[in-house]
Symmetry: C2
Subunit: 552 residues, 2 copies
Amino acid sequence: MNISPLQKARYEYQPKLPGMLRNGVAEICVKEGQPTQSVADQEKIAALFPNTYGKKEITFEKGKNTSKAKKHVVGVILSGGQAPGGHNVVSGLYDALKATNKDNVLLGFKGGPSGLLEDSYVEFTDEFINEYRNTGGFDIIGSGRTKLETVEQFKVVEEVAKKHNLTAIVIIGGDDSNTNAAVLAEYMAAQNTGVQVIGCPKTIDGDLKNEDIEASFGFDTATKTYSELIGNIERDANSAKKYWHFIKVMGRSASHVALECALETQPNICLIGEEVAEKKMSLAQITNYIADSVEKRANNGNNFGVAIIPEGIVEFVPEFGALIKEINELLAGEKTEKFNALPDWAAKYDFIKNGLTKEAFAVFDLLPQGIQQQLFLERDPHGNVQVSLIESEKLFSELVKNELAKRKKAGTYKGKFGAQHHFFGYEGRCAFPSNFDADYCYSLGYNAFMLIQYGYTGYLSKVSNISKPAVEWVAGGMPITKMFNMERRNGEDKPVIRKALVELDGKPFKFFEANREKWAVETCFTFPGAIQYYGPAEVCDLTTRTLALEKG
Amino acid sequence: MNISPLQKARYEYQPKLPGMLRNGVAEICVKEGQPTQSVADQEKIAALFPNTYGKKEITFEKGKNTSKAKKHVVGVILSGGQAPGGHNVVSGLYDALKATNKDNVLLGFKGGPSGLLEDSYVEFTDEFINEYRNTGGFDIIGSGRTKLETVEQFKVVEEVAKKHNLTAIVIIGGDDSNTNAAVLAEYMAAQNTGVQVIGCPKTIDGDLKNEDIEASFGFDTATKTYSELIGNIERDANSAKKYWHFIKVMGRSASHVALECALETQPNICLIGEEVAEKKMSLAQITNYIADSVEKRANNGNNFGVAIIPEGIVEFVPEFGALIKEINELLAGEKTEKFNALPDWAAKYDFIKNGLTKEAFAVFDLLPQGIQQQLFLERDPHGNVQVSLIESEKLFSELVKNELAKRKKAGTYKGKFGAQHHFFGYEGRCAFPSNFDADYCYSLGYNAFMLIQYGYTGYLSKVSNISKPAVEWVAGGMPITKMFNMERRNGEDKPVIRKALVELDGKPFKFFEANREKWAVETCFTFPGAIQYYGPAEVCDLTTRTLALEKG
């Protein structure tokens, strides 16, 4: 095996724990707080979670450990998309478990939730864990997207737990996975299995965030990696002075990633899906907004710039959503066959023109031909348009190009416009975790075992005050049901953790809003550079701009 | 202005000079070596450079500075594509010049060679330079691609030089720019202008390399940045276990970047253009080579992988080159109009089928339709196919997909194949220079002024022994004509620096060749992580694997 010099060096990094967890497991006691309520729909949720609802918030503090001595066998799974720091949650959990009792066992179930269903696992040892400390990726046990949500699945999990004498299961995942962790916890309690369930908040998208979760892990490292690249591209744009770079970043349902990258790099343009939805912006409005920046900059002799586009942006444009709905109708059932039988694109185009409402067709007609064809030709097995395949960075650069051509004809625009396109997603999900994520994740894992040891279930491992140095962090737990509300999902009312969207009256967006007019015209680029794991603390222990602004 | 924490910290970095330049300018003397000869075509090149050919190689050493006291006004330009470290060449040059005499002046001509022709410049001051120390980009004065090669241009440069009393011009650029530096030096000498010309070897492509230039600057930082991303993607691939990632990296005429990235990250596949050309590989052969790896890995249950594709790869495939030639013929002159007038793609396809030779059509027919259309529809102003627009990463993933479909039908392949595509170029050209590039570039600039002070012209600033710690580096100069040979360019024989291609019997390729069979089937990924500027020397002062292997 060939290990990079950085990986070798990172093995030696000792993640920082919250001050109250630094005195050894024998010196950690529980302070119980008030009973909790869900953020909304309290009665419904209380009824659905009779065994786990309304429990007390707890924090840990220095003091004699009064937990019951008991051998623990804990199972852990990684669920959903990769996020930097997952390996540290596992190693923190392992270290706390082994520090408490050498006979305690940690099993890693492989390939995500399906590992738990298929009883595919590995038993962790020091040697095994040591190869993954402070590294990126979820390759320690793999991950997967199977959802644990049905009673049939829970029964299988119960059997597997019984076979291994599991005392607890730790689920590391996003909002859906933690929602499911709470449901599983309730099931296990209702069945008197004695199996506790603890969740850990993961996602680079940053949309698992609320009163109790200041940040999901991985967001810090992923956005720093994207910002490194965006800053490098900005510097290139400002050196060569000949291209507009349209950069798409991950984040389908929320624009936290785009916003954080914008705060770190100060590009000319950054679209925010939540604002587009709130203001019911049209494609033409967005196009004009970007074209205005291009034009003003061109007037100053600057025929270059950088625009950040969140992955899911088109889904936030109301008229685009309406178009997609009509297209899905237009091709529903056997109509697809009829459509496919048409001889060429010209015939298909006529069919579309006749089939869509005037409003929808006007939107359709704005689109570049490549995207028009994509909407009709590449559909999922149910015949639906695959919005996620739309290359929104290319869509907007094309629309802007067309708009500028009009303005050139009209004599208002005299510049040159050349575009380059980029998409950053996979590049950041498995980076070596930043010091912040390494510390935060290790603490989440360590803390998860403290919750297990003290007998809690249906709790989220909670580490807060994380905009401060680690020694001031607060470790504790929160019933997952506290974060619940009822939402309509697939035609059913379900108790779920609400996805956190970018708040248009929140401080990060407000800061962006207050500066973006200037950024759009001037060149205010900032170059964060590569994540540093060593060196001055102000460089290597920085957290996100989002968190810094939110916490004042 | 908002400056990132890393940028602030990097301002404080003091680049390391070669030991012999560390005693202050008063303690640097010249040691002359042997007269030099061009690497080939000595007589022709000697005749073309009567004033600058055959000069002696020189090195600097500790000793009394015996250069003539003289006020220097030096002009500097950045030429061609951005490369990390350009700002450090300028700051090293500035520091040496000011350390010698506070009245010396450094002028930066803006926007590349055109700045010299248009007399667009800035005079550097401490305050100005300090904002650019150890930063990426060429934004300090901008760059450009104008070529300085005609006598008319030289006359303009002569006038501009006279106006500013320039004593020397430093040209920071790639092989073409340094070739032109030598021609300009000869002109200035022949005209008795007293203006010296010094070149500095820049390019992230790594193809400016020879007996005298161990590495061009920027290659180290750019390849480390790409390798960071490739490593992150590898880790993601190995965690999610569901995608093959096809990653294109910059490098049109040589595959040094791809090879270096492969040595750093150990992907399953890396194509090398020089090998494809040497072995006259066909598209089908390359496709099969990749498909074999996909199939073998699938047999082991690994339906994922990483393939690195150099940007210019298709131009190295002989049959593809032949096809392009035929297409250019087929559409030459008025034939384009006839072609464009055909009603639809089916008619155009027939026209193509009838117009190409059987061999060329067979190659054409292999291509995915999108690329077929691109070849015919997107041509440059001369009607030629724009090979550089071909997305080779998508081409090969498409060809592999088709091949795997065949194998699935035949029952030999049973895996799943999903592909993701990436292109890394702009992401690395303006990164903060690694410690190596920061040191190397600063030394090149500092050393360039030593050459100027001692009256040399037509020389390249040469810093060698760079696989060792900086204190052991050797500073000196080499007549640029020593690197010359005659080559056919645009129908004329011209004296030029030869582009360095990947040598198939060189140690870097040999190492790759010895390991790639194993890498193709097993998962031997290595994760270099982000460039570190601080921390353990084995992490932050590493040079490239290419250089390490070349220097044993």
